[in-house]
Symmetry: C2
Subunit: 220 residues, 2 copies
Amino acid sequence: MYSFTEENYLKAIYKLSTELGHGETSTNAIAEELDTRAASVTDMLKKLSEKDLVHYEKYKGVKLSHSGQLIALQVVRKHRLWEVFLHEKLDFGWEEVHEIAEQLEHIQSDLLIDRLDDYLGHPKHDPHGDPIPDRSGKLAENDFIPLNRVEAGTSCILTGVSDHSTSFLKSVEKWGLRIGIRLIPGDKNEFDGSLEIELPEGEKIVIGQKSAAHILVKTT
Amino acid sequence: MYSFTEENYLKAIYKLSTELGHGETSTNAIAEELDTRAASVTDMLKKLSEKDLVHYEKYKGVKLSHSGQLIALQVVRKHRLWEVFLHEKLDFGWEEVHEIAEQLEHIQSDLLIDRLDDYLGHPKHDPHGDPIPDRSGKLAENDFIPLNRVEAGTSCILTGVSDHSTSFLKSVEKWGLRIGIRLIPGDKNEFDGSLEIELPEGEKIVIGQKSAAHILVKTT
DNA sequence: AAATATTTTTAGATTAGTCTAAAAATTATA
DNA sequence: TATAATTTTTAGACTAATCTAAAAATATTT
């Protein structure tokens, strides 16, 4: 159907367009995301444009077409379902699942994905708290907010993280934070922006500003 | 490590060399197995030979080297473990598992395969009864014999099949034959070689000579 | 608005894997 | 053993995806 590489470009464009608002995505940003050169990106954008998977105008950036978006969402669906499988069934930590899912997401079989979804009990979120698109590409809108925007003293529940780097996920583990845990943010340090958090057993920890911005919660 | 394509060539050579005795494998046989042209095979054999994965001499055929055999066995291991997963956990029929496992067998992660093996309870055979190599590539020698070589009246247990074509597997299903079932071969038809078989509930069926040769059993 | 810096695109080359058509080697046949 | 048939290899071309270096367009600064 679509090549491994085409799927990766579509996924990268999807990711960048949702991360950085919904405008056009730049050639350089895609090159960085995929760890390749701008010239290669230009070539591929022409090809994807030929196939009507993206709207592309020279020097003006690129946007996914309707069909391109659909394919991207299917890849995301597969990626996140496999992450759930790896985490829940094979006991991989959330910092380990991403790399393997990058490969598994390209396996071609709709039936396989439907069966996997059944087998996992139709999960709504992956191990990082990101929503899993359904068969038609519909995405549960998530109303999760970054912990650094919650008012001090407001009890909330950890629902996800918005950075998937190994270093960040390892700190999160070390702090004893897991999805579903209850926490209460305290005062922000005026000078450096670091945040004190109260955990369920009354334990208190301090995390940096940047980390607080990548911990997503739901207030209750 | 090794490309998708290289792995497929090694697997094909392994398969052909075990099927057709242990001599050299011919260029044409590989081309047919992989549905490609002899010229392409020659090119790849040179490349694999460069990397010492095969012993190859022009016009003389090819044999896996020690390291080539090891890699082939790892691919076979992955293929068969994924087949067990698809069959046992996701309820795919044995005629459906092969195609998807052809893709899954190329996922690169030793840890993944070890965990999958644990999760499945270290199965010794795939859904077709073929033995699964262990981590080091060791293969349980199977002493399964084709049903048409069993003496009439000898009770035996179905342990596998040696043809994986959809058409054959569908007939096997239709006859009610499954791995583990007990059966007693009756007399062979002198003229056409067809064989009568008694099933557990005393039911009797007749299958052709060719099918009987591809049903593997263990006498008890 | 002109000069400078940045981003993006083009041009041309490279690599892995494949192909066709023709040549060379091997095997089978008469 | 010469001839024919088959198998295998070479030669040269093609595609997808990538790269470097240079040119063109756009954005920023003075």
